[in-house]
Subunit: 222 residues, 4 copies
C-alpha cells in the first residue's frame, strides 16, 4: 500500500528509523481520552428534593480540580506535540519511554478525584495528603520526560535534521525544573499548608501553560 501508516515501503535513505505516525496517533488518542474522562469525576451530588442547587454549590472544589487538571493535560498535550516534532523516528526503547510519558498523563484523573474529595468532604489532614499526592504525581510525571530527552541526546540520529543535540540538552532543564518545583509544592502542602501547596501547583501549571514549548516559539526558530 503506497500510503500505509508506517511508511515502511517509502523510499527512505535513513531506513533504519521507524515512523512515529502510529505513536503520534496513539498518544493523541490517549491525551484526548484522558482530558475527556476528567468529566466523569464531576458527579451529580446526592441531594434531597429542592436542594440540588445547594448541592451543586458545595462541589466548588470538584470544579476547580477539574479545570486545573484540564489545563494541565492541555499543557502536557502541547508539550508532547512539540516533543514528537523533534524526532524523525522511534525505537522500541523510545516507544516504552513514550508510554512512560503517557502513563504520567493517564493517572491524572485519580489525584484529581482525590483532591476534589479532600476539599469537599475531608479535613486539613485529608487535604494535606491530597495536595501532596497531586504534587507527587506531577513531579514524578517529569521523570519520563527527562529520560526521553536524555535518550534523544544519546541518539541524535533520531532527531529531525533541523534539531541540534545541543537544543535537546537544554530542553532537559524543563522536566528537571518541574520535578523540583512540583516536589517543593508537595512538601509545602504537606508540611506547611495544603492551600499553599495547591497554589504552588496551580502557579506551576499556569507557568507551564504560558511558556509551553508549543508551536510558535518553535516555528520562529525555523
Amino acid at each position: 500500500m503506497s500510503a500505509a501508516p508506517d511508511e515502511v515501503e517509502q523510499p527512505d535513505p535513513k531506513g533504519r528509523v521507524s515512523a512515529t505516525d502510529r505513536m503520534t496517533a496513539f498518544s493523541d488518542g490517549v491525551f484526548a481520552i484522558v482530558i475527556t474522562l476528567l468529566v466523569i469525576e464531576l458527579r451529580v451530588p446526592e441531594y434531597h428534593e429542592g436542594e440540588l442547587l445547594t448541592g451543586l454549590l458545595g462541589e466548588g472544589a470538584s470544579y476547580l480540580a477539574f479545570v486545573v487538571s484540564f489545563v494541565y493535560i492541555g499543557v502536557l498535550w502541547l508539550n508532547h506535540h512539540a516533543l514528537l516534532r523533534l524526532i524523525r523516528g522511534t525505537t522500541l526503547t523510545l516507544s516504552w519511554i513514550n508510554l512512560g510519558v503517557l502513563f504520567g498523563a493517564v493517572i491524572i484523573p485519580f489525584p484529581t478525584a482525590v483532591l476534589a474529595s479532600a476539599f469537599t468532604h475531608g479535613d486539613t489532614d485529608d487535604q494535606r495528603a491530597a495536595v501532596a499526592l497531586y504534587a507527587l504525581a506531577a513531579a514524578l510525571m517529569s521523570a519520563p520526560w527527562l529520560v526521553f530527552f536524555g535518550y534523544l541526546h544519546r541518539h541524535p540520529a533520531l532527531l529531525e535534521r533541523r534539531v541540534s543535540p545541543e537544543y535537546v540538552r537544554t530542553q532537559r532543564l524543563r522536566p528537571v525544573t518541574g520535578l523540583i518545583l512540583y516536589g517543593l509544592s508537595g512538601l509545602l502542602g504537606w508540611f506547611v499548608s495544603p492551600l499553599l501547596g495547591l497554589i504552588g501547583v496551580i502557579v506551576m501549571i499556569t507557568y507551564h501553560a504560558v511558556t509551553s514549548e508549543g508551536l510558535p516559539r518553535w516555528l520562529t526558530r525555523r
Copy 2:
C-alpha cells in the same frame, strides 16, 4: 519522514504557519469521546423484581437529556469541522483557544446528568437550577468561539487563502447570538418556568443543527 503528521519537512512557502493536523485529530478524538461518554449517564434504574419496565419508563427525562446532548455535541462537532477548515495553520495562542472550545464540549455530560437527575428525582426548584446550569454552560461555551473568530480576524495570515477576513468577522455573530439566547433561556428557566427554559434550549440546539455552518453551504461558496 515524508508524510509526518506535522508536515514540518514539507516545502511550504508560508513556513511560519504550523500544521493543524494534530489539532484536528485531537479535537475529533475529544468530540468522539464526549458524544460516546454521554451513554454512561444512562444507568439501569434501581428496581425490585418484576418492576424493571416501570423503572425504565420512569427514566424518560434521562433519555430526553441524552438525545438533546447528543444532538448538541453533533452540532458542535460539525461547526468545529467548519471552523478548522477556515484556517491553514495554528499558533500556541490559537491552540489554547481551541482547548477552550473543547472545554465547552467536554463538560456537557455534567449538566446533562444534572438535568436528567432534576427532572427524574427533583422538584421545581431543582429543575430550575438544572435548566439554568445547562443554559449557563451552553452560553459560556460560546465565549471561546467568539475569541477564536476574534483572533482569526486579527491574524488573517492564519486563514486559508479562499477565506476573507470579512467572512470571519460576520461569523462572530453566531457565538454572540448563542451567548445571548442561551443566556435568555437560562433566565427564562430560572425566573419563569424550568420547562420553558428547557424548551428554549432545545429550540436553540435545533436551530443550530438545522443552520449549522456545516459542509454544503461552505462548499457552494467555493
Copy 3:
C-alpha cells in the same frame, strides 16, 4: 497545507463534494470508544470474603451480554466501513444521517446493561422488558441506515465512480430486513419467551457477522 485532512485545496475536478476523511475518523473514534466502553458494565460483583468466585460465576449473563454486544458493534463497524467506501463525499444532510447511524451504535451499552441486569437479578417480566428493549434498539438502529441508502440513491453524485445507484438500491434491503427481524425478535421476547427473543437477536447478529458487507465481497466486485 498540502495534506490537510479535508483536502479542500487538492485539485479535484468534482470540487463540490466535500471530503469524508474527518467523518471517517470521527466515526472510527466513536465505534472504537463504544466497543471499549462496554467493559465498564462488567463490574466486580459485591461479595463476602471468600465468595468472589461464586459472585463471578453468578455474573454469567453479564459476560454473555458483553460478548453479544461486542460482536454486534464489530458488525456495525465493518458495515459502516463498507458504507463509507461507497461515497466520495458528504453533505451536511448526510453528516446528520451519519450521526444518526452513530447514535444507534452509541446507545448499545445501555440496553446491554439492562439485559445483563435483568438476567442476573430480575424475574421473567424483567427479562421480557430487557429483551424487548434490546431488540427495539436494534430494530430502530436500522432506520438511519435505510435513510442513508435512500439519500445516496437520490444523490448519486456522492457515490464513488465504481458504485452503481442500482447497487445502492438493493442495499436498502439489508436495513429493512434488520428492522423487521429485530422487531420480530422483540415481539417474540415480549409475548412468547424472553429466551426465545434473545436467541432471535443473537441469531440475527451472528447472521450479520457472517454475511457482513465487509471488505472481500466488495473487493471481488471491482
Copy 4:
C-alpha cells in the same frame, strides 16, 4: 478523493487486497481507550474525615494492578503495531480475527479490577480466583494471535513483500508460549499460591515487554 483513507482509488497492481488503514486507526483507538480506561478503576477510597491517607495507602493492590495492566496493554499495543506491519491488506475474515485480538485487550480492565478487589478486600480464596481469572484471560488472549498468524501463513498474498511466510510460521511460537505460560501461572495461582501465580503473570508481562516484537528488531531485519 485522492487521499481517501481506504486508498481504493489508488493505482495498486495487487488491487484485490484491501487497505489496513482504517483497521489500524480503529485498533489504535481501542488500545488508547482501554489503556486510559484503567484509571477509572482507581477510585477514591471511602474514608472518615482525617483518614484519607490511610485509605489511600490501603489501596496498594489497586495501584499495582493498574501498573501491571498498563504495561500489559502497552506490550499488546507494540506487538499489534508489529503485527499489522506484516500485512499489506486485510479480508473480512482477518478483520474478524483482528476484532478477536482487540477483544482480548478490551476485557483487561475487568480482571484488573477483580484482582485489585481481591487483594484489597478478599481472603486467600478470593485472591486465588482473581489470579486464576487474570491468567486465564491472558492465556485465552493468545488464541486470536495464534489464529491471526495461522491465517497469514495460509494467505501469504496478504503479507508485505519483504515478509517471508517462514517468518510468520516461527512467529506462531510466541502466542503458543503465552498460552502455555499464562495458563501455568493460573494453575500455580489456583493450586499453589495466589502470590506465586501473580508473580508468574508479572514475570511473563515483563518478559514480553523486554522482548516485545517492537520496532527496532524488526527494522534491523530489513
